[in-house]
Structures are given as structure tokens and as C-alpha cells.
Symmetry: C2
Subunit: 348 residues, 2 copies
Amino acid sequence: VPEPALDPAQPLALYMEASTRHPSGKMGFGLLRYSPNPIACVIDSTAAGRDARDVTGIPRSAPIVATLAAARALGAEVLVLGIAPPGGRVPDAWWAVIDEAVRLGLSIVNGLHDRLAPRHPSLRAGQWIWDMRVEPEGLTIATGAAARLPNRRVVFVGSDMAIGKMSAALEVQRAARARGIDAAFVATGQIGIAIAGRGVALDAVRLDYACGAIEREVMAHSGAELVLVEGQGSLVHPASTATLPLLRGAMPTHLVLCHRAGQKTLARIPEIAIPPLVALAGLYEDLAASCGTFPRPRTAAIALNTFHIADDAQAERAVRTLQDETGLPCCDPVRQGAGRLLEALSRA
Amino acid sequence: VPEPALDPAQPLALYMEASTRHPSGKMGFGLLRYSPNPIACVIDSTAAGRDARDVTGIPRSAPIVATLAAARALGAEVLVLGIAPPGGRVPDAWWAVIDEAVRLGLSIVNGLHDRLAPRHPSLRAGQWIWDMRVEPEGLTIATGAAARLPNRRVVFVGSDMAIGKMSAALEVQRAARARGIDAAFVATGQIGIAIAGRGVALDAVRLDYACGAIEREVMAHSGAELVLVEGQGSLVHPASTATLPLLRGAMPTHLVLCHRAGQKTLARIPEIAIPPLVALAGLYEDLAASCGTFPRPRTAAIALNTFHIADDAQAERAVRTLQDETGLPCCDPVRQGAGRLLEALSRA
């Protein structure tokens, strides 16, 4: 596995067949919003001829085409499988698409559980297949080394899965860079990895190496002033166990708690109520510190996802209300920019 | 993988070459102490001719022999690799031993990271190789189902790694069964799995399925009155992340905190002090409950490992002192029997 596999100069084709207007296209949406790579085109025969900006609402222009050949003609070098199908496995209909892409000389970014590289042992010079949902080689167990770094390390934790942790981290990185701050993003899920060009798919790592995998990524960015670690899962989700390796591997100095405005229960388990956010933030801090064993991080701010609120003024009211309720700085970094979050992280 | 692979009627040979008097023989020691299987013999050419009871101090008699052929002659059907070599990989010198064991018709219990089964595709009828340090097939993500069971579920948590969590759970099981209580043991590490004949090697499971793997084992024992879950790792160890899947998968009603008498710091990381035990128990409870999201377990007792204290009266003094300090019932279940722990778990 070449790591990082993705050169930010390489033009991408985002495979989003029938998904440019559907939540399953989230890998493609993430890249449209945040990838530093040129987007040669989006592939979706059901919307061919239109512009991705108009179809998705994401402010980045890219032609939508119907075929791989058209994508190649537009200069695409890398095909990104931009759809998250149920179960995370490659749907039967995709195999022919993948085979044709390989024949056309496209490299492939694959965030699904199935490994594609072993099916295509002979590739052209410079062509590669990156199966990113695989445990990286050479992992070791963690040592707590990140606690000794002099920089600021932020873990983006959440009140639920899929609540905007990656976007919040990337928006803080964007805001920091705009101010000349050396800010690194540590990707821990497939969309973040495709954006950053490196990272670790935490969900594919064996338990023994999970802390070590995060620690290795954080230590690789030890020179950065600000290390922004993409969180996964939530302490209140019964299937989620990523919090502990994220906290131990990163030894954060700060937390940002991510939440969706108005959400009272877990999206997929409505019987589980989200606890008061200040109490939840305290639990994340307590767990990170473990009775004074490790440095105690400070919850610097709340990143509030207001995507479902149409009106900007109403979104800002939700932000202000939560800020008053919790006493924590709050903003929607995607809608409003991450200035307020960055400011909160810059305080001692 | 046949599961459970190990029939409790099958006589075992414990491979402990040069390790019957060395801590690396811990898999063998565990089986001598707790396996329900007949122990045909121990293999250690450096102690051949003696009795395992005299060499190890564990009150179970078994002849020590020098060769696999001698083990076979004593009726052994299964060879257990009873040594934990550094790194958990098969040492070079063992390959010939394993090949000979397969030729002699022995089945093999392997708790190391290397897979042996693929090297020996053709076995005799009834012969098998159980590579237990492998993620089980067919895992799913957890749902929190264990919280709805009416039984008592105990997770054995610890102030460090390798502090006696498995032994404490097995001693409680023994004490419970002696009183006619249907008590199940959920094994989560290779030694416990070899003893129980089933379980899940948690350290080999990918993060996404870790809670689900524990939940599946707990639900498989849902008919038992008392479910005793072998803990792994510790919340104060920087490399350990097993606590969260154990708590979420088991949804415990009770915790037993395991500790070694007099231990002030982590054994392998002396810079890390063990926090006051009552505070540590509170953190485990807080994490299990997650701000009221899940049932809050009660820390019922402390299992105190006094193995290093020669004198019984002195060990009992250590137990009494800790009991007074913490206000929690306390005993060394290996030395004193688990009666006090069982009693504490039986209270409402």
C-alpha cells in the first residue's frame, strides 16, 4: 500500500451513479466539499450534462458525465468510489465498472470493506488501487507518547455518529491555515482519508493496535502547531468503541463536542436520549484524564450542525441558545466558518 | 473454525518446553489451574520425569515428559501451545514440533497470532487446528441487547494488565457452581478461551465489531443466572481500549475491580501511578452508565491478587486493610476462594 497514495495534483472522477441527490453519496459529497485535488468530473448517468454544484448544492463546480470514457476524456486519473452502499460492500453492479476503470488506466480509491487490489495484480506504471479500509501494516501498541508533545491536539467528539465531526475538523483546519497556523488533520475514516490522502481507517484496525494506530498518525504530525483528530462514533452509542483509542492515541489538550441542533435522541436508536451536553463533555474529559493518569483536555467549544435549518438567522439563534445553555463557545463551522472554534482553541 | 473446538473430555498435552518454571508458561499454568479437560501430561524436556504439581506449585498432578511421542503414549489427543513467546508469534524452533504433532494425529490449540490451520490443510478425521487469536466469522455491530437481560452480568475490570481478572472470574464461577448457581464464564483472551472451550479473542477483533463480539458471547449465555465476563486491559493503560467494548457488549449490572496488593504503578510503565481504587471504580461505573444512557453497574467488590505474599495471615491483613480503606468487600479469590466475592455479587 503506497501511503499516502493520493497525490493532491491528480484529477479525480467521483463515481456517484444515481447518488448525487442521495445521502449514500456521502463520500462524493465530502470530496466535493473538501478535497484539495482537482475534480475532473462526477459520474452519474441520471444527472449527466448538469453541474455538480447545481445538483448537490455544494459550492464547487464539476461536470457530471455518464461514462468512465467521458471521465477519462476530461483528464481524470483517479476514480473514487463515492457511494457508501448498505453494509459497506461492493454492489454486484460495480464490478464491471471497476474492471473497466482499471482497463482505462484509472487508479482507484476504495473506501469499502472489499479489497480490490488483489483482483487486479497487474497495473500500468503509476496506476494503483488504494484499499483504504484495511489495517495498516507495521502497527505497534501505543505508549502514550503524544502526551509529551508541546502542540495543541484536538479530538472532535460527538453526541452521535454521523453528526459532522469530520467537517468540523476540516473547517477548523481551513480557518487555521487562512491565519497562517500550521494545522494538521488526522483522518480516521474513509472519507477523511480520501480527502487528506493519508490516515487510518480506525474501524478496520484490530483492538490491540487501535490506540497505536492513532498515536502513529498523531506523531507523524508532531511538528504541527494544531493537530485536529477526526472523531468517530459516540460514547452514548452502544456499538461504538472508537472514543477510547482516539483519546489514548491523541492524548488531547482540547475537545470539540459535535452535535446537531435540536437532536434529542440517537438518529438510528431513538430509544437512546442524548444526555445534557455539558455532562457528556465532562464524561469525555473524565475518560481522557482517567483520574489524573493522563492530561485532562478542556472542552473548548461546541460545533453545532444546523444543516437542516433553512434560515441563517434561525441557525444563528440555535447557536446562541446552545451557547447560553452550556456556557461554551458555539458555532456551525460549515455554515458560519470555524473562526469561533479556532478562537476558542487558541485560548489557554 | 469449529466452535467450541475443544471437547472437555479430550485429554490435553501442554507444550511448555523450558517454561514450567517461567512466567512465559502462563497459558499452561492457566490450564493446569482451571481446565475442565484431563491433563495427560506437560511437555518440558528440562523437567521430564517430575510432576507438574511439584514444579509449578499448582495443585494439579500431571506427569512431565520430554517428547510428543511420550505425550501420545499417555493418551493426549490435543496439544496446547502453553507458552506465550515475546510478540505472540510462533518461535522458529516450534515449527518442527507443530509439524510432528500434526503427523502424530494430535489436534492443536493455538493462542498465538500466527495461523497454523492454513499450513496443514489435510488432517485426519476428528483432528483439528484451532487458531483462536482470529476474529470470529459473522460478527455484527452491537445493539445494546444485553441491557434487557434479567440476569446478573459482571465485568472484571482492573488497575493494570495481567493482574488476575481471568482467575477472579473463574474462581467466582467455581464458587457459584459449588452453590448450585448457573454461572457462565465469557472468555475474552486466549487462555480463558482454551479453558472454556469457546469465547472471543478480543484483541484480534476489528474495532467496528468489538462491542458486537462481546454482546454475542453474553447473549449466548443469556440463560445463565450469573454471567462472568473476563476483563482485558485497564482504563489507566495508554495502549488499552478493551474496556469500552466489554462494558457496551456486556451492559454489566456489577463490576469486580481486580488489583494486586501493594502495587502503586503500572507494572510495565512505572511512570503511571494507579489512582485511588475507589476513584477508579467510579470512573468505570461512570463510563458504563455514560450519563444515564445505559444501566449503571455497581462495583460489588475488589479481587485482590496476593500471590507475591508468602504468608496467609499477611495476605489476609492486606485484604482487610484494603477493605477498610475502600469500604468495598475484598478477598483474594485464588488464595481464599471466591466466597466473599460471590456473596457481594448476590446482594441487591
